[in-house]
Point group: none
Chain length 411, copies 2
């Protein structure tokens, strides 16, 4: 079963937008055993769209399109689809109801341009877009499946997850099982050396991929074969061995996030949390509050971006700041104690570091970061040396802090 | 003069790597007036490479390829090029000298695999790769130009800058100018209705594109013609009219971000800022502190994720919370006043809302958000109704708050 991806939009061809949709779609299709043979980015023109559809149909059975469906340039793509599938536009009541729902939520009035989004080719199956006004459209022709989706990534992703992947999965003959193990606090090459023997001894039908991100390395095992059940057993076995090999680095699996796992642990222990953040600037609080329901355990945060705030709000002693500096073991400990007292919480995370690009010194180079985590079951203060890049330092500090919290709450 | 880009590599088709090369190349070509008509990502296979070259040649005069030239899979792409251009591989002395130079720099010994990289199709022009061992290769056939480059971005970029763009520039007769205007707080369709007359009256050689993101709509004007200077004047004129038409929505141009612009404004006025955040959970502080040097104007934040913190730390009156609720005009005003007093700052942003998915009611549905901004030159409190999606509500609330700050600081 082969697929092609067509992304439509002049913004791609002038280089204003990087096509991230294609990589995401390709990865998802791969995960269900469907191979992508070509990705094509084309302009918003009728002829070009039709030509691309014709050519893709010669190479693949599944053709997924994104883009060209915004309210302002609706017509070109939909007209091209009508021409290609030999049909005409018709008003779709369900698509319109979805537009009404979304406009009601946003408190806006529907314009004629938005109403036109409910007009779709008569012979397509409308796919409800949970996150936007442009519906997905599915066509079948000569044994091939064609889908047109909006180009906005989060709208495309929900259409893929809600409608398209569930439809395509049964078409693939090969069973592929994936399991992704998440590690924190260890670099890719160090990890590779550590698990080398295990990797070499993996069954031949299991492939391992290292997927590094700043602060996190994901290990994805992909097993392919015809019997799903025995594949599952095989993968279970291999994963079990991995857990025994590197228990200290594994924090979760799949789509788990550290903030989610830390949150669940806090909840199950009945603990509350607050953060006192300097270099992370509120990013840890942001990660934690990104989780729905986090108000059950998260009370809040003080972002102390000046010494004055560290003293006045968190109660860090002026002598501590003077003697040891804002980026020091003593300061983060006092920040943690201060937030626990002020916010009346059980657990605290305190972080102070030099995010860069300026502010580094010989003794404390950019990337130097102190983290203190206090919980009823123990506390820890640790120094990290991250890199040169501001954004990455902030991200890595936050992940390291959440991981320390996870470890300390667990025991 | 039309161009196509072909990127070669299985890693693109399984979604492991996002194709960033194409956007970069397309942007560079656009800047010298060469239009990219299609971008195609294909696999490392002989037939597929030849087929893609044939098809591209029908549409464009310039075909730029990247990828498929690493030391381990050299042969496939180069063999395909030999077949397509009807030639054979030959050892190139200059290419080999470059390989020797690079290995000397890195302190490695040359392997046979690397020596093979100096073998290139006999009838191509070798383009010296300043940053790597795989040379660029330029072919001319039937009035068309073909270039093959390695896929490593920084190698490709130096080949483009050193050899390819200087060769292509004189071929382009057309100049193209782009300018992108950034708007906040207005939906795409509402904006389109608002500027419809202006859009209709744009000179025929200026095209307008709407590029929406959550909370932000970018308007890109692209003007093409033969005289760069008069194009610039034309675009200036059109942009000026747009500023007069929707001054309240425009916050910047090009790659500007709201947090950067707000930061610059605070700095130029000598103002300091702190935030009091409920539903945004530290995200506004995170955006602001993402900017290097933000400690010059940003003092910090209180994330008040419970009523208790709103009362105890920010000094919101219990009666206010009881009478009006945490998501209310009165509460955000008291939050703003509280943070100004506690943090001794000139400006404050206070936000309280229902991010969702739970916590909504008939009267205050999910997405309801109150924002208060106080500055020495004025203050404002405003209610917003965003959508259903937690992450997007947080993002949109933060952008709306930063935009209110921008407007109020400006005067």
């Amino acid at each position: 079963m082969k697929a092609e991806i067509i992304t439509i939009g002049d913004e791609l061809l002038i280089g204003q937008v990087i096509d991230t949709n294609s990589a995401w779609i390709a990865e998802q299709l791969n995960l269900i055993g469907i191979r992508v043979v070509q990705i094509t980015s084309i302009s918003d023109h009728n002829d070009h769209i039709i030509k691309a559809l014709e050519e893709s149909s010669k190479r693949a059975e599944i053709i997924l399109m994104t883009g060209g469906l915004g309210p302002t340039r609706d017509d070109i793509t939909k007209d091209a689809l009508c021409e290609y599938f030999n049909t005409k536009l018709a008003f779709n009541q369900d698509a319109y109801k979805n537009i009404e729902r979304i406009f009601k939520l946003r408190g806006f009035r529907i314009t004629p341009l938005n109403r036109a989004q409910a007009e779709i080719p008569e012979n397509c199956t409308m796919l409800l877009n949970a996150n936007g006004t442009a519906p997905g459209m599915l066509f079948e022709k000569d044994g091939r499946i064609y889908v047109s989706m909006p180009g906005v990534p989060f709208e495309m992703k929900s259409l893929m997850a809600d409608h398209i992947l569930p439809r395509l999965q049964p078409l693939s003959l090969l069973s592929i099982i994936h399991r992704t193990i998440l590690t924190q606090g260890v670099g890719e090459s160090f990890l590779a050396a550590k698990i080398e023997a295990w990797e070499t001894n993996l069954p031949v039908n299991i492939k391992l991929a290292y997927l590094p991100q700043p602060g996190i390395v994901r290990l994805r095992l992909s097993a392919s074969g015809h019997d799903r059940h025995s594949l599952e057993k095989q993968v279970d076995e291999s994963v079990k061995e991995l857990y025994q090999l590197i228990p200290e680095y594994i924090f979760g699996e799949g789509d788990d996030t550290l903030e989610e796992i830390a949150g669940k642990l806090l909840k199950s222990h009945g603990y509350t949390l607050a953060t006192a953040e300097s270099c992370t600037g509120g990013y840890i609080a942001h990660l934690i509050t990104g989780i729905a329901g986090s108000s059950a355990y998260f009370k809040g945060s003080v972002v102390a971006y000046s010494n004055e705030i560290k003293e006045n709000i968190l109660g860090v002693k002026p002598e501590t700041l003077e003697k040891y500096g804002a980026v020091s073991e003593q300061t983060v400990q006092e920040m943690a104690e201060g937030i626990i007292e002020k916010f009346r919480v059980d657990c605290a995370i305190a972080v102070s570091g030099i995010a860069g690009p300026d502010g580094g010194s010989e003794e404390k180079p950019v990337g130097t970061t102190w983290i203190c985590v206090q919980t009823p079951s123990g506390s820890i203060t640790k120094k990290f040396t991250f890199g040169e890049h501001r954004g990455r330092n902030i991200r890595r500090a936050a992940l390291a802090a959440l991981d320390l919290l996870r470890v300390k709450v667990t025991g």
